[in-house]
């Protein structure tokens, strides 16, 4: 039994991916025995050798393999993993959350007749023989099973899946992002034996063979993003329109809070898309989250559930958010949040009555 953790070293996302995979390997992957005994390596795709050494230090496993690849082409990167996948050298491929990881493991599973699952919350290996060392390559894995959990039904439920064919190809859930930094092991760089000639045309920059060209990074993720906020105010559809959303946003600013919205708000163009919180937007972990006029659909809740304290301000005392909040205020949300803003000045001091 051997796994490979996959990292896209061709973009700036590599450190985030490495931390998430390290956290998943430490806490998300379990088995019959200690998973620390599982043999594994980190495959880092790199665009050029100059950046390679810095990336090796990120790897969550001792063994690291660097593979040259064209940036942002998981379709070609999958090709360079095929030999290991088809030959049974790697039984479990683990990719980070996000479109890169999802495309990579899906294409790899399709080409190697394996099974793919994305959004993996946790996974359990069973039936791996207790060879010396545990799960050594070449061991009989006929009875081995991989079960994994992932959110389904728009985050209303968690599904328990079984990946029925090897190689098992899993992309972990975004909830592992922001994993704690782990002490990096002493690394051993393995030779790049997996690279295939199929990856070469795009890696060489031949535009005639590359259907995706002229790539331009228009905007980096905003600094001080919602994901790092300590105090967040979230407006929902109950704000009633752009005016209500604007008033909540102004109140948030006045309180020194960051401002986010639920999906119905952005779908009605009452706020820009980069304010979206939830399963398809930002995932926050503030000390305080005030949810104003949002019903609290699970897709939104995914984005706020790591908040230490959630207060719901909603005129509907039956809204789901009222069950999933620490404190509930049943009233007009805009009115209450404006009163709260008047109470707290921008420097966090309370106005005296």
């Amino acid at each position: 039994m051997r796994f490979a953790a996959l990292i896209d070293g061709t973009t700036a996302a590599a450190p985030l991916q490495a931390r998430a995979l390290a956290a998943f390997l430490a806490d998300g992957l379990t088995g019959d025995g200690p998973t620390g005994d599982l043999g594994g390596e980190t495959v880092i795709f790199v665009a050029d050798d100059r950046e390679a050494q810095g990336l090796v230090a990120l790897a969550p496993t001792r063994e690291v393999r660097l593979v040259r690849a064209a940036p942002r082409r998981p379709d070609l990167m999958a090709e360079s993993l095929l030999t290991a996948a088809r030959g049974g050298e790697i039984d479990l491929f683990l990719a980070p959350a996000g479109p890169w990881g999802a495309e990579l493991i899906t294409r790899l599973a399709c080409r190697s007749d394996g099974a793919a699952l994305t959004g993996v919350l946790d996974a359990r290996l069973t039936g791996v023989p207790g060879a010396e060392p545990a799960g050594a390559p070449g061991a009989d894995l006929a009875g081995a099973r991989l079960q994994a959990r992932a959110n389904v039904y728009s985050n209303h439920m968690v599904g328990r899946f079984e990946l029925l064919r090897r190689p098992w190809c899993a992309a972990i859930d975004a909830s592992w992002n922001g994993g704690r930094p782990l002490s990096p092991p002493a690394h051993e760089v393995l030779p790049d034996t997996a690279a295939s000639a199929d990856a070469a045309p795009a890696a060489s920059g031949d535009a005639r063979l590359d259907p995706l060209t002229d790539v331009e990074l228009v905007a980096e993720p905003p600094a001080g993003s919602l994901a790092d906020s300590r105090f967040v105010v979230v407006a929902g559809y109950g704000a009633g329109g752009p005016d209500g959303v604007g008033r909540i946003a102004r109140a948030a600013r006045r309180m020194g809070a960051d401002f986010g919205v639920s999906r119905p708000v952005v779908m009605n163009a009452w706020a820009p898309m980069d304010r979206l919180i939830g399963a398809s937007g930002a995932r926050t972990a503030p000390a305080v989250c005030l949810v104003v006029g949002a019903s609290g659909a699970p897709a939104l809740h995914w984005g706020i559930e790591r908040a230490a304290f959630i207060a719901a301000i909603n005129s509907d005392d039956h809204a789901p958010i009222t069950r999933n909040a620490d404190a509930v205020v049943v009233d007009d949300g805009v009115a209450v949040i404006e009163e709260l803003a008047a109470l707290i000045d921008p420097h966090g001091r309370v106005e005296t009555e």
Binding site: R124, A150, V215, E305, A327
Partner: protein, 326 residues
């Protein structure tokens, strides 16, 4: 390329051929907590006793009530599902964006004297037909439903093979648009699987699509790096994500009358050479159980006569200490 407004990848003259594949899903927000709980019970026998189905600690679903798969009288496992048959159907939000983006692309090309040939596809039963009729009224030239009775909710490989085969045999196109993911599976692998089957590149999390006057498309997409723009030349799959364009336009009565005779094509999977039952048996990932996610918190009600009173109580009793903490 034959002209300034010809965006076709093949270099042959003619309008840009765009197929949008979309899904109509139950409105999950219309279900109550009891419905989800009932679904989980129906899916299996409650009380497996484990803190987590896998025994691992996950930051994404920290408090769950596990439910096991059900063993039927025959000894085989029933498919775990939440019953949603009576719930109203809605367009998957990402697919809705894809449908509108295709219309806007067509509008742009028409203003330049060219055009796009739009087609729409969905898989399922008759409940989809009103949506397809609406799309015909909005300007889609063709609308088709793959008539499949089988439950494909957790069968992305089967769904992808149906879409890819439809493109290959019935609706050749230069551009395939679809939403980046949809419920109840929410896995988001279908666009990649279709691209893989067709041998095409896939751009995911697409937010904008613009036709270039010299041919090709300029596409914006969100990534971990930030917002990217790139040029797509050649047939491609575009998986639409958090696009600003998120609402499908509404046809006028005149639009509907003008296309009232336009038929929705009903296509059987067998016509595409696909045995759905057999494909389902080969699906490489199986759903074994469902768990209700318990998100409940204390829910202390902050009472008062006026919004000002409630704001003051909320601050004094709860927020002050948290916000003033270092």
């Amino acid at each position: 390329m034959s002209g300034a407004d010809d965006t076709r990848a093949s270099g042959s003259p003619g309008p840009l051929r765009v197929l949008v594949s979309f899904k109509v899903t139950p409105d999950f927000e219309a279900l109550r907590p009891a419905d989800w709980a009932a679904g989980a019970v129906e899916a299996g026998t409650p009380g497996a006793g484990a803190a987590s189905a896998t025994g691992a600690s996950s930051p994404g679903a920290s408090a769950t009530a596990p439910r096991d798969e059900v063993a039927s009288a025959s000894g085989t496992h029933a498919a775990p599902r939440v019953p949603t048959r009576c719930v109203r159907r809605v367009l998957n939000c990402f697919d809705e964006s894809a449908l509108e983006l295709a219309l806007r692309l067509s509008d742009t090309l028409a203003q330049r004297g060219g055009g796009a040939d739009l087609a729409a596809l969905s898989i399922g039963g008759r409940e989809i037909d009103p949506h397809l009729t609406t799309l015909l009224a909005l300007g889609y030239e063709r609308a088709a439903r793959l008539d499949v009775e089988s439950d494909l909710d957790f069968a992305p490989a089967v769904v992808a093979s149906l879409i890819a085969r439809y493109v290959a045999r019935r609706e050749p196109c230069d551009l395939l648009l679809l939403g980046c993911c949809s419920g109840p599976g929410d896995g988001g692998t279908v666009p990649f699987r279709v691209a893989e089957a067709l041998g095409w590149p896939c751009v995911s999390q697409v937010t904008e699509v613009e036709a270039l006057t010299g041919g090709g498309l300029r596409v914006a997409c969100t990534t971990d790096e930030g917002l990217l723009r790139l040029t797509v030349r050649g047939p491609a799959v575009l998986a639409v994500g958090n696009a600003v364009v998120s609402r499908l336009r509404v046809p006028t009565l005149r639009d509907r009358l003008a296309r009232r005779d336009a038929p929705v094509a009903i296509v059987a999977a067998a016509e595409l050479g696909i045995d759905v039952a057999a494909e389902l048996g080969r699906e490489p990932t199986a759903l074994r159980g469902l768990e209700v996610v318990d998100r409940a918190r204390r829910g202390v009600v902050v009472d008062g006569a006026t919004p000002r009173d409630k704001a003051r109580l909320l601050y004094d009793a709860h927020l002050r200490a948290l916000l003033e903490a270092p």
